[in-house]
C-alpha cells in the first residue's frame, strides 16, 4: 500500500489538468478509507461518508501539498473530520459492537473457551472506553492502532503538531488501560493466555 501510494502526489498533480485521473486515487485508497469509516461509524454511514471523503478531496486537490507523496494521511484526515460530524453514529456503532462482543460464542476446549469469553468481556469494556474518550484523543488512538499511521502521518492528517499526537495518544492509552485494568477480565485473560 505504501509503495503504491508513493506516487499519489503525481496522480493528484495530473488530476488538476485531467480530473479523471483522480479515479486512480479512489481505486487505490477507497477500500481502506471505507473500512476505517465502517469501523468508526458503521457500514451504513460509511457508504455515504466514503463518497463525501473523496468528493471533498477532489474539490480540494488544488490545495494538496505535492511534497507529500503519500495521500493517505490527507484522506484519513478528511475522513476523520467527517466522522466528527457524525458522532452519534460513531457512539451508536460502539454500542452495537459492545453488545455483539458481550455474546459468548463457540464451544471448545475449556481454557480456550474461558480465554475467548474473557477476551470478549475485555472487548465489551473497550468500546465504551473508546466512546468515552475525548474526540481528539480517540482520533489519534484509532488512526495509529487501526490504520497503522505513524505519528508524523497522524500529525499531517489532523493538522496538529507531532508532540500533540504523542500526548493525545499517551492520554488515550492511559484511560483505556485504566478501564481494562480495573476489571477481573484483564487479569484472567493474561493468566489464561500465559499458561497456553
Amino acid at each position: 500500500m505504501r509503495s503504491a501510494a508513493a506516487d499519489d502526489a503525481a496522480v493528484i498533480e495530473s488530476s488538476r489538468r485531467e480530473p479523471e485521473r483522480f479515479a486512480v486515487l479512489f481505486d487505490r485508497h477507497a477500500p481502506h478509507i471505507y473500512r476505517y469509516l465502517a469501523r468508526r461509524a458503521g457500514r451504513q454511514a460509511a457508504d455515504d461518508l466514503v463518497a463525501e471523503t473523496f468528493l471533498a478531496a477532489f474539490a480540494k486537490r488544488d490545495r494538496y501539498d505535492l511534497s507529500h507523496a503519500d495521500a493517505r494521511p490527507w484522506l484519513y484526515g478528511i475522513a476523520t473530520n467527517l466522522v466528527g460530524q457524525h458522532r452519534r453514529d460513531e457512539v451508536r456503532q460502539y454500542r452495537i459492537r459492545q453488545a455483539a462482543a458481550a455474546e459468548p460464542e463457540v464451544p471448545g476446549h475449556a481454557d480456550r473457551v474461558a480465554a475467548d469469553v474473557t477476551a470478549q468481556a475485555m472487548r465489551s469494556l473497550l468500546y465504551p472506553a473508546l466512546a468515552a474518550l475525548p474526540a481528539g484523543d480517540r482520533d489519534v488512538l484509532l488512526l495509529i492502532a487501526w490504520e497503522q499511521l505513524t505519528y508524523e502521518e497522524v500529525s499531517r492528517a489532523l493538522a496538529i503538531p507531532v508532540g500533540t499526537v504523542r500526548s493525545r495518544l499517551h492520554r488515550a492509552r492511559t484511560k483505556v488501560r485504566q478501564v481494562l485494568a480495573g476489571t477481573d477480565a484483564a487479569a484472567t485473560y493474561e493468566e489464561i493466555t500465559a499458561n497456553e
Binding site: R16, P19, F22, A30, Q44, A46, D47, A57
Partner: protein, 241 residues
C-alpha cells in the same frame, strides 16, 4: 495483551468492502469528475465549434474519461460536446436496478391480471377502493384502461428511478401504501371475489415491497442525491461538496 494489541485485534473483525459496496461512492465521484470545469475544457472548444452554447449544455472528453475497473464499474457515457446534463448522470447502483426489476415484475403481474380477467369481465362484481362496480361495457372498458394505465405507471416509475428521479422513489412509496390497502381489501373479499384476485394483489404488493425496500437502501439514497445535485447545478459549478 495490551490495549493497542486488543484494538488491532478488534480492527481485524472489519473486512475490506466488496467492490460493489463502493459503487455508490464511485458513481458520485465520477459525476463530480465529469462535471469538473477542467474535464470540460477540451470539449468546450468543440462545443463552441458546433454552436451549442447555454447553461444546460455540458461537455466531456472521450469515453475513457473516467477509469472504472471491474464489472460493477459506473458507466459514464462520455458524451460529445453539447449533450445535456442528463447524459452525465451517474449510473444506477445495483439496488436501484433491482428496484426497477421489481417494478417490471409488478407491471407483468398487473398485465397478467388483466389478461386473465378478460374472459370473466362480465361476471366480476368487484370493488375498487371500496366502491362497488356494476360491469357495464363502459365500466369494463374504463377498468381495463385503468389497468393498462397501471402497467404504464409501473414502467414509467421503473424508468424514472433508474434515471435518479427522487419523485419516483417517493411516488413508489405512496403507491405501495395504496397497494397495501388494496391487498387488505382483496384478502377481506376472498369469499366474494375468489382467491385469484387476492393472489394477484399479493404479487403486486410483493413487487412494491421489493422495489420500495431497494429504493431506500443507502446506495440508492446516495445515487438519488448525486443525480439531484447533477441536475440542480450548472456543470461548471460542480466540483465536489
Amino acid at each position: 495483551m495490551n490495549e493497542m494489541e486488543l484494538l488491532r485485534e478488534l480492527a481485524q473483525e472489519e473486512p475490506l468492502p466488496a467492490p460493489a459496496d463502493l459503487d455508490a461512492a464511485r458513481a458520485r465521484l465520477a459525476a463530480a469528475i465529469a462535471a469538473d470545469p477542467a474535464a470540460a475544457r477540451p470539449a468546450a472548444v468543440a462545443e463552441t465549434a458546433v454552436s451549442q452554447p447555454g447553461p444546460s449544455a455540458v461537455s466531456q472528453p472521450g469515453p475513457s474519461a473516467v477509469s472504472q475497473p471491474g464489472p460493477s464499474a459506473v458507466s459514464q457515457p462520455g458524451p460529445s460536446a453539447g449533450q445535456p446534463v442528463e447524459a452525465l448522470r451517474p449510473a444506477a447502483p445495483a439496488p436501484v436496478l433491482a428496484a426497477a426489476r421489481f417494478m417490471y415484475g409488478g407491471a407483468i403481474s398487473t398485465a397478467a391480471l388483466l389478461i386473465v380477467a378478460v374472459p370473466f369481465a362480465g361476471d366480476v362484481k368487484g370493488t375498487v377502493l371500496g366502491h362497488r362496480l356494476t360491469p357495464t361495457p363502459l365500466i369494463i372498458t374504463l377498468v381495463f384502461l385503468a389497468g393498462l394505465g397501471l402497467v404504464g405507471l409501473w414502467l414509467w416509475l421503473a424508468r424514472a428511478t433508474t434515471q435518479g428521479r427522487n419523485w419516483a422513489r417517493t411516488g413508489s412509496a405512496v403507491l405501495f401504501g395504496l397497494a397495501s390497502y388494496e391487498l387488505l381489501s382483496a384478502i377481506g373479499a376472498i369469499g366474494k371475489n375468489g382467491v385469484a384476485n387476492a393472489v394477484f394483489a399479493a404479487l403486486t404488493w410483493l413487487s412494491g415491497l421489493g422495489a420500495v425496500w431497494m429504493l431506500w437502501r443507502p446506495a440508492s439514497s446516495a445515487f438519488f442525491k448525486s443525480a439531484r445535485e447533477m441536475r440542480s447545478r450548472p456543470p461548471s459549478q460542480i466540483s465536489g461538496p
